[in-house]
Symmetry: C2
Subunit: 212 residues, 2 copies
């Protein structure tokens, strides 16, 4: 099933992984079909929003029957590219890098982590989940061979400009960015997903104070 529309809004795209998670849970719990109304209730959305969102990608539900859970799950699996993993590397194998790899299953998120790079002497040569940490000196050669498209940045802000420049030159076009370096400002053509953990915590603390 191909995408119906190439100009789907970012807010719809951002909801896709959430649909995928809910469908996965329904499937695990043996639910075979679900109405848009019931799915809406579980997800805290409206039924019409769900129908609109999913209609961006094709015709799924049937009037009076609802959605076939297995089928919709499989479609989302395909739409989210779970059947064609994106080759990726990680830069920075400190606490955060280690935790991300140990905590998350990258393959279950559509990504195949193939290399980890760090310049700390005590880390080079050790491995995380079977992937050996290499010096960033090996970056160009590795990229030339493996052609990673996505880079996870778990490096300090100061280290980011030079590394991102090298990565872009190596053909990396998507960044999962935990550093505070503003990649999109410098490279408007690459795709960036920023995760500013500190900003998120600050926002929460501020919201709590506003309540009082």
């Amino acid at each position: 099933m191909a995408s119906k529309d190439t100009s789907i809004s970012m807010s719809v795209i951002r909801r896709l992984p959430r649909y995928y998670r809910f469908l996965h849970d329904l499937k695990e719990n043996g639910v075979q079909r679900i109405s848009s109304r019931e799915l809406a209730q579980r997800m805290g959305l409206t039924a019409s929003q769900i129908r609109q969102d999913l209609n961006c990608f094709g015709e799924f539900g049937q009037q009076g029957y609802g959605y076939a859970v297995d089928q919709l799950y499989n479609e989302l699996y395909h739409i989210l590219g779970m059947d064609d993993l994106t080759p990726a590397i990680m830069l920075g194998a400190g606490n955060l890098g280690h935790a991300l790899i140990n905590h998350m299953n990258f393959a279950n998120r559509g990504v195949k982590l193939e290399g980890i790079f760090d310049d700390a002497e005590h880390l080079i040569g050790t491995d995380i989940q079977g992937i050996t940490i290499q010096s960033t000196e090996a970056l160009e050669e590795f990229c030339d061979r493996q052609k990673p498209q996505l880079a996870v940045l778990c490096i300090p802000k100061e280290a980011a400009p030079r590394l991102v420049k090298r990565l872009v030159k190596c053909g990396v076009t998507a960044f999962w960015n935990f550093s505070h370096y503003d990649i999109a400002m410098q490279y408007p053509d690459v795709i960036v997903e920023n995760v500013h953990l500190g900003d998120s915590l600050m926002t929460l603390s501020h919201l709590l104070k506003r309540e009082k």
Copy 2:
């Protein structure tokens, strides 16, 4: 300086930590004043958006002079509650919990982490950054004494419903939620900041595939 307005939009609030970061960097680099135009350029915003955002909180800039960096930084410091840390606890001291504490400076984000709880035998009694990990059996007593207002959830989804119920009963009103449990659906009155790392990575991988 008190807030001018109690109904400031979430998008403005979400930009505050970013302003704070940029002001911090300017201050560190010895910049004493900056025009809204120049700040806009650095942040990838428009000058009028910056003026509008900051006007929600008071009168800061001066026509023809711009913003006094030190003064604006101090105001944001106060607005974000950095001078009055929110007492907090963490639930779950696995890879992610460890990494968050070791990777981030909570106090620099307005939060004072006072307790860590986990039920894994091998973790209880060990410490992270000087805070000893306790069994969740001690939760009620601890909360009664320390009155934490914020909880960081680094626990699996399955463990969340029971723990959140206990935490809400203990008076916790804000959650930094790394689990996939939908707290806001069950407790509409608490403040929740969800961090769905997996969704973020999936979105990035999907965007990359759409480009092709």
